[in-house]
Amino acid sequence: MSDRRMAVGNYRNDFLKEVEANVEDGEWVKMCMQCGVCAGSCPLGPYWEHPPQEIFMMIRAGLRDDVLSSESMWMCTSCYNCIVRCPRELPITHIMHGLANYAHRLGLAPKMNPTRRFAKLFWNNIAAGGRANELKLSLGLYFMDGFATGIKKSLQMLPIGLGMLKTRRLNPFGLLAGGNCKDRKGIQAMLKKAKELEDKRKGFA
Protein backbone atom coordinates (compact mmCIF):
# COMPACT_ATOMS: atom_id res chain seq x y z
CA MET A 1 0.00 0.00 0.00
CA SER A 2 1.40 3.36 -0.95
CA ASP A 3 1.38 6.34 1.35
CA ARG A 4 -2.30 6.55 2.00
CA ARG A 5 -2.20 9.70 4.02
CA MET A 6 -4.58 12.08 2.41
CA ALA A 7 -4.17 15.78 2.00
CA VAL A 8 -5.58 18.13 4.56
CA GLY A 9 -9.29 17.81 4.29
CA ASN A 10 -11.82 20.52 4.71
CA TYR A 11 -14.76 18.68 6.19
CA ARG A 12 -18.24 19.23 4.88
CA ASN A 13 -21.43 17.32 5.35
CA ASP A 14 -22.62 17.64 1.75
CA PHE A 15 -21.37 14.32 0.52
CA LEU A 16 -22.99 12.40 3.35
CA LYS A 17 -26.29 13.95 2.37
CA GLU A 18 -25.72 13.08 -1.26
CA VAL A 19 -24.98 9.48 -0.31
CA GLU A 20 -28.03 9.27 1.87
CA ALA A 21 -30.20 10.48 -0.98
CA ASN A 22 -28.73 8.58 -3.88
CA VAL A 23 -27.03 5.42 -2.70
CA GLU A 24 -28.73 2.15 -1.85
CA ASP A 25 -29.00 1.97 1.96
CA GLY A 26 -26.93 5.18 2.10
CA GLU A 27 -28.92 6.40 5.08
CA TRP A 28 -27.09 3.79 7.15
CA VAL A 29 -23.68 5.32 6.63
CA LYS A 30 -24.10 7.69 9.57
CA MET A 31 -24.75 4.77 11.94
CA CYS A 32 -21.20 3.43 11.73
CA MET A 33 -19.29 3.70 14.99
CA GLN A 34 -15.88 3.04 13.50
CA CYS A 35 -15.23 -0.31 15.16
CA GLY A 36 -13.63 -1.74 12.02
CA VAL A 37 -15.15 -5.20 12.22
CA CYS A 38 -16.21 -4.96 8.56
CA ALA A 39 -12.69 -4.09 7.47
CA GLY A 40 -11.33 -7.12 9.25
CA SER A 41 -14.06 -9.45 8.04
CA CYS A 42 -13.72 -8.91 4.31
CA PRO A 43 -12.17 -11.89 2.48
CA LEU A 44 -10.50 -9.59 -0.02
CA GLY A 45 -9.82 -7.03 2.71
CA PRO A 46 -6.11 -6.73 2.06
CA TYR A 47 -6.88 -5.43 -1.43
CA TRP A 48 -9.11 -2.62 -0.24
CA GLU A 49 -7.41 0.74 -0.40
CA HIS A 50 -10.06 2.02 1.97
CA PRO A 51 -12.01 -0.56 3.96
CA PRO A 52 -15.76 0.02 4.44
CA GLN A 53 -15.49 1.69 7.82
CA GLU A 54 -12.93 4.08 6.45
CA ILE A 55 -15.10 4.78 3.44
CA PHE A 56 -17.89 5.68 5.84
CA MET A 57 -15.59 8.10 7.60
CA MET A 58 -14.45 9.53 4.27
CA ILE A 59 -18.06 10.10 3.34
CA ARG A 60 -18.58 11.99 6.56
CA ALA A 61 -15.44 13.94 5.86
CA GLY A 62 -16.77 14.94 2.45
CA LEU A 63 -14.06 13.18 0.45
CA ARG A 64 -16.35 12.66 -2.52
CA ASP A 65 -13.80 12.09 -5.27
CA ASP A 66 -11.63 9.81 -3.20
CA VAL A 67 -14.60 7.63 -2.40
CA LEU A 68 -16.29 7.49 -5.78
CA SER A 69 -13.15 6.90 -7.79
CA SER A 70 -11.93 4.22 -5.40
CA GLU A 71 -11.36 0.65 -6.51
CA SER A 72 -12.26 -0.46 -3.00
CA MET A 73 -15.97 -1.09 -3.30
CA TRP A 74 -15.32 -3.16 -6.39
CA MET A 75 -13.52 -5.70 -4.23
CA CYS A 76 -16.77 -6.74 -2.60
CA THR A 77 -17.48 -10.44 -3.18
CA SER A 78 -20.95 -10.18 -1.60
CA CYS A 79 -19.98 -12.66 1.08
CA TYR A 80 -22.01 -10.81 3.74
CA ASN A 81 -19.43 -11.38 6.47
CA CYS A 82 -19.42 -7.68 7.30
CA ILE A 83 -23.19 -7.52 7.53
CA VAL A 84 -23.57 -10.34 9.99
CA ARG A 85 -20.76 -9.10 12.22
CA CYS A 86 -21.55 -5.39 12.20
CA PRO A 87 -22.59 -4.38 15.72
CA ARG A 88 -24.71 -1.62 14.28
CA GLU A 89 -26.43 -3.85 11.71
CA LEU A 90 -25.30 -1.73 8.80
CA PRO A 91 -26.08 -3.41 5.46
CA ILE A 92 -22.50 -2.86 4.44
CA THR A 93 -22.56 -5.19 1.44
CA HIS A 94 -25.49 -3.28 0.00
CA ILE A 95 -23.91 0.08 0.75
CA MET A 96 -20.77 -1.01 -1.07
CA HIS A 97 -22.85 -2.18 -4.01
CA GLY A 98 -24.77 1.04 -3.87
CA LEU A 99 -21.65 3.18 -3.83
CA ALA A 100 -20.12 1.22 -6.67
CA ASN A 101 -23.31 1.55 -8.65
CA TYR A 102 -23.50 5.26 -7.93
CA ALA A 103 -19.90 5.81 -8.92
CA HIS A 104 -20.47 3.78 -12.07
CA ARG A 105 -23.53 5.74 -13.01
CA LEU A 106 -21.73 9.00 -12.45
CA GLY A 107 -18.89 7.77 -14.59
CA LEU A 108 -16.46 8.23 -11.73
CA ALA A 109 -15.73 4.56 -11.16
CA PRO A 110 -12.33 3.37 -12.34
CA LYS A 111 -12.83 2.63 -16.02
CA MET A 112 -10.68 -0.44 -16.25
CA ASN A 113 -11.80 -2.11 -13.06
CA PRO A 114 -12.42 -5.72 -14.09
CA THR A 115 -15.27 -6.28 -11.68
CA ARG A 116 -17.04 -3.19 -12.90
CA ARG A 117 -16.71 -4.42 -16.45
CA PHE A 118 -17.77 -7.94 -15.64
CA ALA A 119 -20.74 -6.72 -13.65
CA LYS A 120 -21.87 -4.65 -16.60
CA LEU A 121 -21.49 -7.59 -18.92
CA PHE A 122 -23.43 -9.79 -16.55
CA TRP A 123 -26.34 -7.47 -16.21
CA ASN A 124 -26.60 -6.90 -19.91
CA ASN A 125 -26.47 -10.64 -20.37
CA ILE A 126 -29.39 -11.36 -18.07
CA ALA A 127 -31.36 -8.26 -18.96
CA ALA A 128 -31.40 -9.33 -22.59
CA GLY A 129 -33.35 -12.50 -22.15
CA GLY A 130 -34.24 -12.71 -18.50
CA ARG A 131 -31.81 -15.53 -17.76
CA ALA A 132 -28.05 -15.87 -17.76
CA ASN A 133 -26.26 -17.29 -20.77
CA GLU A 134 -23.05 -18.57 -19.30
CA LEU A 135 -21.18 -19.08 -22.54
CA LYS A 136 -21.87 -15.58 -23.79
CA LEU A 137 -20.93 -14.26 -20.44
CA SER A 138 -17.58 -16.04 -20.31
CA LEU A 139 -16.66 -15.15 -23.85
CA GLY A 140 -17.72 -11.59 -23.26
CA LEU A 141 -15.47 -11.50 -20.28
CA TYR A 142 -12.47 -12.87 -22.11
CA PHE A 143 -12.88 -10.60 -25.07
CA MET A 144 -13.44 -7.53 -22.96
CA ASP A 145 -10.02 -6.17 -23.78
CA GLY A 146 -10.09 -6.86 -27.44
CA PHE A 147 -9.77 -9.81 -29.74
CA ALA A 148 -6.13 -10.76 -29.17
CA THR A 149 -6.35 -10.72 -25.39
CA GLY A 150 -9.62 -12.54 -25.65
CA ILE A 151 -8.08 -15.37 -27.59
CA LYS A 152 -5.25 -15.57 -25.08
CA LYS A 153 -7.58 -15.68 -22.12
CA SER A 154 -9.83 -18.15 -23.85
CA LEU A 155 -6.87 -20.41 -24.40
CA GLN A 156 -5.94 -20.10 -20.75
CA MET A 157 -9.46 -21.05 -19.85
CA LEU A 158 -9.72 -23.71 -22.52
CA PRO A 159 -9.10 -26.68 -20.22
CA ILE A 160 -11.83 -25.47 -17.92
CA GLY A 161 -14.18 -24.84 -20.76
CA LEU A 162 -13.50 -28.27 -22.19
CA GLY A 163 -14.07 -29.80 -18.79
CA MET A 164 -17.38 -28.05 -18.55
CA LEU A 165 -18.29 -29.11 -22.04
CA LYS A 166 -17.32 -32.68 -21.39
CA THR A 167 -19.45 -32.83 -18.28
CA ARG A 168 -22.26 -31.16 -20.22
CA ARG A 169 -22.17 -28.11 -17.98
CA LEU A 170 -21.62 -25.68 -20.85
CA ASN A 171 -23.75 -25.31 -23.93
CA PRO A 172 -21.63 -25.01 -27.05
CA PHE A 173 -24.61 -23.64 -28.90
CA GLY A 174 -25.38 -21.11 -26.21
CA LEU A 175 -24.31 -18.28 -28.49
CA LEU A 176 -27.38 -18.91 -30.51
CA ALA A 177 -29.98 -19.79 -27.95
CA GLY A 178 -30.59 -20.20 -24.26
CA GLY A 179 -30.98 -17.67 -21.48
CA ASN A 180 -34.32 -16.54 -22.67
CA CYS A 181 -37.57 -16.28 -20.76
CA LYS A 182 -40.80 -16.52 -22.62
CA ASP A 183 -41.88 -13.07 -21.62
CA ARG A 184 -38.68 -11.37 -22.67
CA LYS A 185 -40.56 -8.31 -23.73
CA GLY A 186 -42.37 -7.99 -20.45
CA ILE A 187 -39.13 -8.31 -18.55
CA GLN A 188 -37.39 -5.74 -20.65
CA ALA A 189 -40.26 -3.34 -20.22
CA MET A 190 -40.26 -3.98 -16.51
CA LEU A 191 -36.54 -3.31 -16.23
CA LYS A 192 -36.84 -0.18 -18.31
CA LYS A 193 -39.55 1.10 -16.03
CA ALA A 194 -37.58 0.20 -12.93
CA LYS A 195 -34.52 2.01 -14.20
CA GLU A 196 -36.60 5.02 -15.10
CA LEU A 197 -38.10 5.20 -11.63
CA GLU A 198 -34.74 4.77 -9.99
CA ASP A 199 -33.11 7.39 -12.17
CA LYS A 200 -35.80 9.81 -11.18
CA ARG A 201 -35.38 9.06 -7.50
CA LYS A 202 -31.65 9.36 -7.62
CA GLY A 203 -31.40 12.40 -9.77
CA PHE A 204 -30.15 10.81 -12.97
CA ALA A 205 -33.27 11.51 -14.95
Binding site: P43, T77, C79, N101, A119, L191, A194, K195, L197, E198
Partner: protein
Protein backbone atom coordinates in the same frame (compact mmCIF):
# COMPACT_ATOMS: atom_id res chain seq x y z
CA UNK B 1 -46.96 -38.21 1.33
CA UNK B 2 -45.62 -35.91 -1.32
CA UNK B 3 -44.94 -32.33 -0.29
CA UNK B 4 -45.54 -29.63 -2.88
CA UNK B 5 -43.15 -26.76 -3.36
CA UNK B 6 -42.88 -23.91 -5.79
CA UNK B 7 -39.49 -24.40 -7.34
CA UNK B 8 -37.08 -21.71 -8.41
CA UNK B 9 -34.22 -23.58 -10.13
CA UNK B 10 -32.12 -20.63 -11.27
CA UNK B 11 -29.98 -20.10 -14.35
CA UNK B 12 -27.12 -22.38 -13.44
CA UNK B 13 -29.33 -25.42 -13.15
CA UNK B 14 -30.60 -25.23 -16.68
CA UNK B 15 -29.73 -27.91 -19.17
CA UNK B 16 -26.10 -27.59 -20.12
CA UNK B 17 -25.47 -24.92 -17.55
CA UNK B 18 -22.83 -25.02 -14.85
CA UNK B 19 -24.91 -26.70 -12.16
CA UNK B 20 -26.98 -29.03 -14.23
CA UNK B 21 -25.65 -31.97 -12.28
CA UNK B 22 -26.91 -30.31 -9.09
CA UNK B 23 -30.35 -30.25 -10.65
CA UNK B 24 -30.11 -33.87 -11.72
CA UNK B 25 -29.24 -35.03 -8.23
CA UNK B 26 -31.82 -32.78 -6.58
CA UNK B 27 -34.48 -34.36 -8.75
CA UNK B 28 -33.38 -37.84 -7.74
CA UNK B 29 -33.14 -36.93 -4.08
CA UNK B 30 -36.54 -35.26 -4.04
CA UNK B 31 -38.14 -38.20 -5.68
CA UNK B 32 -36.92 -40.45 -2.88
CA UNK B 33 -38.00 -38.02 -0.21
CA UNK B 34 -41.40 -37.30 -1.64
CA UNK B 35 -40.71 -33.69 -2.45
CA UNK B 36 -42.57 -32.39 -5.46
CA UNK B 37 -40.94 -29.44 -7.15
CA UNK B 38 -43.33 -27.36 -9.23
CA UNK B 39 -41.23 -25.03 -11.31
CA UNK B 40 -42.27 -21.38 -11.29
CA UNK B 41 -43.45 -20.78 -14.82
CA UNK B 42 -41.16 -18.53 -16.84
CA UNK B 43 -38.96 -17.61 -13.88
CA UNK B 44 -36.12 -15.20 -14.53
CA UNK B 45 -32.61 -14.60 -13.23
CA UNK B 46 -32.36 -13.20 -9.72
CA UNK B 47 -29.80 -10.65 -10.83
CA UNK B 48 -27.23 -12.19 -8.56
CA UNK B 49 -25.20 -9.94 -6.31
CA UNK B 50 -22.91 -8.89 -9.09
CA UNK B 51 -25.83 -7.35 -10.94
CA UNK B 52 -25.55 -4.30 -8.72
CA UNK B 53 -23.18 -2.27 -10.81
CA UNK B 54 -25.26 -1.93 -13.90
CA UNK B 55 -28.60 -3.05 -12.57
CA UNK B 56 -28.83 -0.82 -9.55
CA UNK B 57 -31.36 -1.35 -6.83
CA UNK B 58 -34.86 -1.25 -8.20
CA UNK B 59 -34.31 -3.30 -11.37
CA UNK B 60 -32.86 -6.09 -9.28
CA UNK B 61 -35.81 -5.99 -6.93
CA UNK B 62 -38.10 -6.07 -9.94
CA UNK B 63 -36.39 -9.21 -11.22
CA UNK B 64 -36.88 -11.02 -7.93
CA UNK B 65 -40.32 -9.63 -7.33
CA UNK B 66 -41.38 -11.00 -10.68
CA UNK B 67 -40.41 -14.50 -9.60
CA UNK B 68 -42.22 -14.12 -6.30
CA UNK B 69 -45.30 -12.76 -8.02
CA UNK B 70 -45.27 -15.60 -10.53
CA UNK B 71 -45.01 -18.11 -7.73
CA UNK B 72 -47.76 -16.56 -5.70
CA UNK B 73 -49.94 -16.45 -8.80
CA UNK B 74 -49.31 -19.89 -10.23
CA UNK B 75 -48.28 -21.97 -7.24
CA UNK B 76 -50.39 -20.45 -4.49
CA UNK B 77 -49.89 -21.78 -1.01
CA UNK B 78 -46.55 -23.36 -1.85
CA UNK B 79 -43.27 -22.25 -0.33
CA UNK B 80 -40.73 -21.10 -2.85
CA UNK B 81 -37.70 -23.39 -2.81
CA UNK B 82 -34.40 -22.47 -4.38
CA UNK B 83 -31.38 -24.68 -4.77
CA UNK B 84 -29.00 -21.88 -5.62
CA UNK B 85 -27.71 -19.67 -2.83
CA UNK B 86 -27.81 -16.51 -4.89
CA UNK B 87 -31.34 -17.14 -6.12
CA UNK B 88 -32.54 -17.81 -2.62
CA UNK B 89 -30.77 -14.80 -1.20
CA UNK B 90 -31.85 -12.47 -3.99
CA UNK B 91 -35.50 -13.38 -3.64
CA UNK B 92 -35.40 -13.21 0.13
CA UNK B 93 -33.64 -9.85 0.17
CA UNK B 94 -36.15 -8.35 -2.20
CA UNK B 95 -39.00 -9.66 -0.12
CA UNK B 96 -37.46 -8.13 3.03
CA UNK B 97 -36.65 -4.80 1.42
CA UNK B 98 -40.11 -4.42 0.02
CA UNK B 99 -41.58 -5.28 3.40
CA UNK B 100 -39.59 -2.48 4.96
CA UNK B 101 -39.97 0.20 2.34
CA UNK B 102 -43.32 1.37 1.09
CA UNK B 103 -41.57 3.43 -1.57
CA UNK B 104 -39.63 0.47 -2.92
CA UNK B 105 -42.76 -1.67 -2.87
CA UNK B 106 -44.77 0.87 -4.83
CA UNK B 107 -42.00 1.41 -7.36
CA UNK B 108 -41.49 -2.32 -7.77
CA UNK B 109 -45.18 -2.88 -8.37
CA UNK B 110 -45.18 -0.12 -10.92
CA UNK B 111 -42.35 -1.84 -12.72
CA UNK B 112 -44.04 -5.24 -12.40
CA UNK B 113 -47.12 -3.84 -14.13
CA UNK B 114 -45.03 -3.54 -17.25
CA UNK B 115 -44.71 -7.33 -17.14
CA UNK B 116 -48.38 -7.75 -16.37
CA UNK B 117 -47.85 -8.70 -12.75
CA UNK B 118 -48.56 -5.40 -10.99
CA UNK B 119 -51.32 -6.89 -8.91
CA UNK B 120 -49.80 -10.29 -8.31
CA UNK B 121 -47.03 -9.43 -5.90
CA UNK B 122 -47.98 -10.06 -2.30
CA UNK B 123 -44.58 -10.90 -0.93
CA UNK B 124 -45.94 -13.23 1.72
CA UNK B 125 -44.71 -16.59 0.50
CA UNK B 126 -41.90 -18.17 2.56
CA UNK B 127 -38.74 -18.36 0.50
CA UNK B 128 -36.62 -21.35 1.42
CA UNK B 129 -33.41 -22.99 0.49
CA UNK B 130 -33.56 -26.67 -0.34
CA UNK B 131 -31.38 -27.36 2.68
CA UNK B 132 -33.99 -25.78 4.93
CA UNK B 133 -36.64 -28.00 3.44
CA UNK B 134 -34.52 -31.05 4.16
CA UNK B 135 -33.64 -30.11 7.73
CA UNK B 136 -36.81 -28.43 8.86
CA UNK B 137 -39.60 -30.08 6.91
CA UNK B 138 -38.19 -33.56 6.75
CA UNK B 139 -35.62 -33.78 9.52
CA UNK B 140 -32.36 -35.65 9.88
CA UNK B 141 -34.05 -38.75 11.17
CA UNK B 142 -36.35 -39.07 8.19
CA UNK B 143 -33.48 -38.16 5.87
CA UNK B 144 -31.56 -41.14 7.23
CA UNK B 145 -34.39 -43.61 6.63
CA UNK B 146 -34.03 -44.10 2.86
CA UNK B 147 -30.27 -44.66 3.15
CA UNK B 148 -29.47 -47.98 1.56
CA UNK B 149 -25.81 -47.37 0.80
CA UNK B 150 -24.21 -45.56 3.69
CA UNK B 151 -21.17 -43.58 2.53
CA UNK B 152 -18.83 -45.37 4.86
CA UNK B 153 -15.12 -44.73 4.63
CA UNK B 154 -15.44 -41.34 2.99
CA UNK B 155 -14.25 -38.33 4.92
CA UNK B 156 -15.99 -35.25 3.65
CA UNK B 157 -15.38 -31.56 4.32
CA UNK B 158 -18.60 -29.58 4.51
CA UNK B 159 -18.04 -26.32 2.68
CA UNK B 160 -21.02 -24.06 3.31
CA UNK B 161 -19.67 -20.91 1.70
CA UNK B 162 -21.26 -17.51 1.98
CA UNK B 163 -24.67 -16.89 0.66
CA UNK B 164 -26.41 -20.03 1.89
CA UNK B 165 -25.06 -19.02 5.26
CA UNK B 166 -25.17 -15.23 5.41
CA UNK B 167 -26.98 -13.02 6.06
CA UNK B 168 -29.98 -15.32 6.54
CA UNK B 169 -28.51 -18.74 6.97
CA UNK B 170 -30.31 -21.77 8.25
CA UNK B 171 -32.20 -21.39 11.52
CA UNK B 172 -30.25 -22.51 14.56
CA UNK B 173 -26.95 -22.56 12.70
CA UNK B 174 -24.04 -20.24 13.37
CA UNK B 175 -22.74 -17.91 10.67
CA UNK B 176 -19.22 -18.81 11.62
CA UNK B 177 -19.51 -22.50 12.21
CA UNK B 178 -22.62 -24.01 10.64
CA UNK B 179 -22.84 -27.71 11.27
CA UNK B 180 -25.66 -28.87 9.08
CA UNK B 181 -23.48 -30.19 6.27
CA UNK B 182 -21.56 -32.26 8.79
CA UNK B 183 -24.84 -33.55 10.11
CA UNK B 184 -26.07 -34.36 6.62
CA UNK B 185 -22.84 -36.22 5.91
CA UNK B 186 -23.35 -38.20 9.09
CA UNK B 187 -26.96 -38.79 8.18
CA UNK B 188 -25.90 -40.56 4.98
CA UNK B 189 -23.23 -42.55 6.78
CA UNK B 190 -20.15 -40.52 5.84
CA UNK B 191 -17.52 -39.10 8.11
CA UNK B 192 -17.53 -35.30 8.37
CA UNK B 193 -14.20 -33.47 8.70
CA UNK B 194 -15.47 -31.68 11.76
CA UNK B 195 -12.46 -29.53 12.34
CA UNK B 196 -12.42 -28.28 8.76
CA UNK B 197 -11.92 -24.59 9.35
CA UNK B 198 -12.68 -23.02 5.97
CA UNK B 199 -16.31 -23.98 5.84
CA UNK B 200 -17.53 -20.39 5.53
CA UNK B 201 -14.59 -18.88 3.67
CA UNK B 202 -15.57 -16.93 0.62
CA UNK B 203 -14.59 -18.50 -2.72
CA UNK B 204 -14.64 -15.13 -4.39
CA UNK B 205 -18.08 -15.55 -5.89
CA UNK B 206 -18.44 -13.63 -9.10
CA UNK B 207 -14.98 -12.16 -8.61
CA UNK B 208 -13.59 -15.52 -9.67
CA UNK B 209 -14.14 -14.15 -13.17
CA UNK B 210 -12.96 -10.61 -12.68
CA UNK B 211 -10.28 -11.02 -10.04
CA UNK B 212 -9.04 -14.57 -10.62
CA UNK B 213 -5.78 -14.26 -8.65
CA UNK B 214 -7.51 -12.98 -5.53
CA UNK B 215 -10.30 -15.51 -5.73
CA UNK B 216 -7.99 -18.38 -6.36
CA UNK B 217 -6.02 -17.48 -3.25
CA UNK B 218 -9.29 -17.96 -1.40
CA UNK B 219 -10.09 -21.20 -3.13
CA UNK B 220 -6.63 -22.49 -2.37
CA UNK B 221 -7.29 -22.05 1.38
CA UNK B 222 -10.60 -23.81 1.02
CA UNK B 223 -9.15 -26.87 -0.72
CA UNK B 224 -5.93 -26.99 1.24
CA UNK B 225 -7.69 -27.08 4.57
CA UNK B 226 -9.87 -29.92 3.34
CA UNK B 227 -6.71 -31.89 2.60
CA UNK B 228 -5.18 -30.87 5.93
CA UNK B 229 -8.18 -32.23 7.76
CA UNK B 230 -8.06 -35.54 5.95
CA UNK B 231 -11.01 -34.99 3.68
CA UNK B 232 -11.28 -36.85 0.43
CA UNK B 233 -14.10 -34.80 -0.89
CA UNK B 234 -15.78 -31.44 -0.40
CA UNK B 235 -19.53 -31.12 -0.22
CA UNK B 236 -21.38 -27.86 -0.72
CA UNK B 237 -24.93 -26.55 -1.04
CA UNK B 238 -24.07 -23.74 -3.48
CA UNK B 239 -23.56 -23.95 -7.27
CA UNK B 240 -21.18 -20.98 -7.36
CA UNK B 241 -19.08 -22.49 -4.58
CA UNK B 242 -19.10 -25.85 -6.33
CA UNK B 243 -17.95 -24.42 -9.59
CA UNK B 244 -15.35 -22.07 -8.22
CA UNK B 245 -13.82 -24.58 -5.88
CA UNK B 246 -13.80 -27.34 -8.45
CA UNK B 247 -12.86 -25.91 -11.81
CA UNK B 248 -9.91 -23.72 -10.87
CA UNK B 249 -7.91 -26.38 -9.07
CA UNK B 250 -5.64 -26.93 -12.09
CA UNK B 251 -4.95 -23.22 -12.40
CA UNK B 252 -4.24 -23.06 -8.70
CA UNK B 253 -1.88 -26.00 -9.03
CA UNK B 254 -0.09 -24.14 -11.80
CA UNK B 255 0.04 -20.93 -9.80
CA UNK B 256 1.04 -22.32 -6.44
CA UNK B 257 2.63 -25.65 -7.27
CA UNK B 258 -0.03 -27.49 -5.34
CA UNK B 259 -1.36 -30.88 -6.39
CA UNK B 260 -5.03 -30.42 -5.75
CA UNK B 261 -7.43 -32.93 -7.14
CA UNK B 262 -10.29 -32.67 -4.72
CA UNK B 263 -13.78 -33.63 -5.86
CA UNK B 264 -16.43 -31.07 -4.97
CA UNK B 265 -19.91 -32.45 -4.72
CA UNK B 266 -23.38 -31.33 -3.81
CA UNK B 267 -25.16 -32.64 -0.74
CA UNK B 268 -27.86 -33.84 -3.11
CA UNK B 269 -25.31 -36.01 -4.88
CA UNK B 270 -24.29 -37.64 -1.62
CA UNK B 271 -27.88 -38.29 -0.74
CA UNK B 272 -28.83 -39.62 -4.12
CA UNK B 273 -26.00 -42.14 -3.96
CA UNK B 274 -26.79 -43.09 -0.38
CA UNK B 275 -30.41 -43.54 -1.34
CA UNK B 276 -29.34 -46.07 -3.94
CA UNK B 277 -29.29 -43.84 -7.02
CA UNK B 278 -26.98 -44.45 -9.93
CA UNK B 279 -23.99 -42.29 -10.71
CA UNK B 280 -25.97 -40.76 -13.52
CA UNK B 281 -28.98 -40.04 -11.33
CA UNK B 282 -26.60 -38.41 -8.91
CA UNK B 283 -25.11 -36.30 -11.67
CA UNK B 284 -21.66 -37.62 -10.88
CA UNK B 285 -20.82 -37.52 -14.55
CA UNK B 286 -21.07 -33.76 -14.21
CA UNK B 287 -18.12 -33.48 -11.86
CA UNK B 288 -14.96 -32.40 -13.64
CA UNK B 289 -12.92 -33.88 -10.84
CA UNK B 290 -14.60 -37.20 -10.54
CA UNK B 291 -15.84 -38.25 -7.13
CA UNK B 292 -14.53 -41.73 -7.62
CA UNK B 293 -15.38 -43.06 -4.19
CA UNK B 294 -18.96 -42.00 -4.67
CA UNK B 295 -19.06 -43.49 -8.10
CA UNK B 296 -17.82 -46.78 -6.69
CA UNK B 297 -20.52 -46.86 -4.07
CA UNK B 298 -23.10 -45.96 -6.66
CA UNK B 299 -21.93 -48.80 -8.80
CA UNK B 300 -22.21 -51.36 -6.03
CA UNK B 301 -25.49 -53.07 -5.44
CA UNK B 302 -27.31 -52.06 -2.28
CA UNK B 303 -27.16 -54.48 0.58
Amino acid sequence: MTKQYSFYPGCSSETKASAVNYMTSVNAMCKTLGIALNEIPDWNCCGASIGYAEGGELPRHAMNARNIALSEKHNPGQDIVATCAACWLGAKETQRCLQHSRRLLDDTKTALSEAGLGKDYKGEVPIRHMVEVLIEDIGYEALAKPVVKPLTDIKIAGYVGCQTNRPFGVAGESFENPKYLDKLVETVGGEPAKKYDQKVTCCGGALAFSEPEKSQAQIRKIVESAYDHGAEMIVTPCPVCQMNVEIYQDQINARYGTKFHMPVTYYSQLMTVAYGGTAKQAGLDGNIIRAEKLEKIAAKPAK
